[in-house]
Amino acid sequence: MANPIIPDKSVVTTCAYCGVGCGFKAETHQGRLVRMTPWKEGKANHGHSCIKGRFAFDYYISDDRVTTPLIRASIDDPWTLVSWEKAIQHAASELRRVQAKYGTKSVGAISSSRCTNEEIFLVQKFARAVLGNNNIDNCARICHSPTQFGLSATVGWGAASQHFDSILQADVIMIVGANPTEGHPVFGSLMKRRVRQGAKLIVIDPRRTETVESAHIKADVHLSLRPGTNVAVLDSIAHVIVREKLYNEAFVRARCEWDEFERWTEFVSSDRYAPEVIGPTAGLDPELIRKAARLYASGPNSAIYYGLGVTEHSQGSTGVMCLGNLSLACGMLGREGVGVNPLRGQGNVQGGSCLGSWPHVFSGYRFVTDDEVRGSFEKDWGVTLDAEPGLRLPNMFDAALAGNFRGMFIMGEDPVQSDPNQNHIIEAMRQMECVVIQDLFLNETSKYAHVFLPGSSSLEKDGTFTSAERRVNRVRKVVEPLAGYQDWEIVVMLMNAMGYLATYDHAGQILDEIARLSPAYKGISFELLERIGSAQWPCDEAAPEGTEVLHREKFPRANGRGTFMLTEYVPTAERTNDTFPLLLTTGRILTQYNVGTQTRRTQNNRWHSEDVLEISAHDAHIRGIRDGERVKVSSRFGCTELKAKFSERVGSGIVYTTFHHAETRINVVTSDLSDWATNCPEYKVTAVEVVKVASEQTAKRAAKKKREHVVTA
């Protein structure tokens, strides 16, 4: 019989892949997940889906899942299987031992955007209230930390001003450093629907992405700028808007700080930002810059969507400010169809950002240095809290090498694979005396860990995710946790073992604590989400069911006004020269997800089984490289090998690769430069050289690898 299994149970939950936050019905048969179907009432997807959320769920029952806690005395020892009680006690006593020996601030914690709001909130509480310091960070550090900084500075909140459907009222769509059809596919489809209806499209991206041209879609303007010149180009766009008086003076007078606007107009109208000056710097036709500026300013509704192509630069925060400046100047905020919107990579990056997993702020982006805010947490948590900012993720590694950081709790992250300058991080990890990892799988980072606590996938727990449109969506338990506990329960056990009493009956009580301590989440509860499905923050008495569009009447700044930042273009120190003449930039592909922890364990590998280096035929030919050949990519930081693929998507002088496979080790190559404000790494610009790997060398290496396997087996 070819009739399919009839699922016997269906649970509405939220996709854990990208930041779009699609609603899904997880259908099970006899306790086993048999299918994920898109939920028609999902506010972000309206019944649509992409390959990852819809099909790539088998990772959760992968044979690689660790389901028993592991400990070891040294990273050179093999793991020992232990009970939960033993593992938790061991982790607790080791972290305390390290603190006793090296000081309160010698340990820290990292949470992940793969985790729920409740778990993220608990991990920062663990750092602040239990470890007693502010050494808490999360993976948004390496992706959207500049968003929080740059948007907070200009419009007041580091979050998308709109909801996704708002794009259906946009007349001009400007995509900067993002490739939604690959990275945020369901939003990409919505964007394409709008473009097919006639909206104009501006794409600012070094690559000729699918967003630039695909079936029935063609960007009206594609600024294929040189990686690293975002700020120059955006300032030049501003230059045109100011010089040609295309800005919205009435909006600026009514809604913004006029003095700062005047300073900004003076600044950007300088000749040094004229398209004729910036064009050659960025490798662009000056007329195209003018065209983009006029189109954006003409609207009437122009909406900006941007991604890591803006943030992952040494001027990432400045780039985000440029976008804030532009939207304020043209009055493109405070209504449907406009706005500035970060496209978030991970399911809960917005939540990670909102909920205080940062060394300098509590939930709601409120500074730890603020006595009043800190007081409210001290009162609720019953402990005195550190009044000084803690270390950021990259600085934790720096401090480890300096000898002042010796222990870490890492939940759901793999910094050794995902963070830049891998060799430096490995060196730092080796200095640690106690690394506790909570994850689904052993990974690159767990090679340097001492305790492994087996976590739960998003199918195995209750909680909430906050998507890129600020929407708090419910995550519901579909199947029982494979290792016995939901992630938040494990953190609670660790808190208790370290002497801090934490009692929650269910994840909803953690959400209640979040609501109690975070103004924007004040009205959010499991009850509300049960009743209305989802809600966008801010959600409070004034907006009991949440807020779809921000900044309608005023900006969340002290005086209620938007403001302008001066955004000087400072070329990155990472530059091409004779030794490293090409610029490497990185990105992702539809079928794989970030470092591939999940998708590499699914059939999605059939589409993308390895990362390849996209190179223009011209650059390849002058190096004697043929399509499909293995090449060595080297930078000032390290080198790796991968397969070359001729591509018309990249221009001459630029090479591109994805970073989904650990074997690629692309972060051995990427630089240690980072954003001036947030230390978000400059993944998008590395000067490299690409050479052909001689076949003889390849053979030798393969033979050596084989020998190594024999030795370690």
């Binding site: 500075a153 007041g156 240095t369 900012p389 401090a399 300096a402």
Partner: protein
Amino acid sequence: MSHKTAHAESPVPSRAVPLERLVVMANQIADFFSPYPPARRAEGIRNHLRTYWDPRMRQDLTEYIAAGGEGVSPAIVEGVRLLGSGPDPKGYYGPPKA
């Protein structure tokens, strides 16, 4: 804009971030605030260091500057000078206050 980086053998030992890196980070901050007039530039730098930097990083930088501060942008020196002076204003987002 670029500045000379600090020497590897620095007069003070690093507590958190290697001094060379700390100076690079500080000078990047100075570059950002460079379009602002001197008083605001210094205040912007002060606010940034105070609200974002671990105190050990601030202390290392302060001591490094006291010991000569080779390679450190003059704007940073001005900003760091404000760190210890007077009551500590609250952290804020947005343009440096006048």
